[in-house]
Symmetry: C2
């Protein structure tokens, strides 16, 4: 299950905060019943176009990941929550919306391949 | 642009190799015209179900990321290449296919939000 979020109209100061994004990535897995495998990695990115700077972050969770890329000058952030385990997409969207004060959220759920492969599991398991 | 790859039938020994996955993540950005922001992070994951162990990796590139999660016992891997910059999806799929000896690749391209926001860029930039 892969939840893809594109969000607009966020408070730029929240999108620019490395500390907030680290806390968000650190806490989200527990909030949606996932297990962190490693601490979050968060970096500030400064690109060739001045308005495209932002914060990028990542946390690895069991079999899966959460990523975020923010663009404070555009009020835009994208967030991916990808897990082979089911999770509550609506609750996740509400946590993200509250964390960053989002005005508009566009989300999609993608089915990924793993669930289509039960026959590939050896019979001894 | 977000290239979503689900692949099947890979050589389990390749999918199990932390070294190969680190090299793949280290080299792919250059191969498709991207810039790494930080070194790849690669971890072996061992879950509650023995057949769901695998290798998870991530590399942050400018404004974007590449992720991979492999499941050697299932011959399955998923790969996401997400960038706000255009890149050659077909070339990327060929690199992935060659790196892991993939038999079948299912891929999709998602449009993400940033390209719809030119008006959000302040007039002074």
């Amino acid at each position: 299950m892969h939840l893809v979020i594109d969000s607009y109209g966020a408070d730029p100061s929240l999108l620019a905060s490395v500390e907030l994004i680290h806390t968000f990535l650190d806490q989200l897995p527990d909030q949606i019943g996932m297990t962190k495998v490693a601490p979050p990695q968060v970096y500030t990115y400064r690109g060739q176009k001045p308005h495209d700077w932002g914060v990028s972050g990542f946390v690895l969770i069991a079999e899966s990941h959460v990523t975020i890329h923010t663009f404070p000058r555009r009020g835009y952030a994208n967030i991916d929550v990808f897990s082979c385990k089911e999770f509550d997409a609506q609750a996740t969207i509400e946590i993200v919306t509250a964390a960053f004060g989002l005005e508009r959220v566009s989300s999609r759920i993608l089915d990924r391949g793993l669930e289509f492969l039960p026959s590939a599991v050896p019979a001894d398991r």
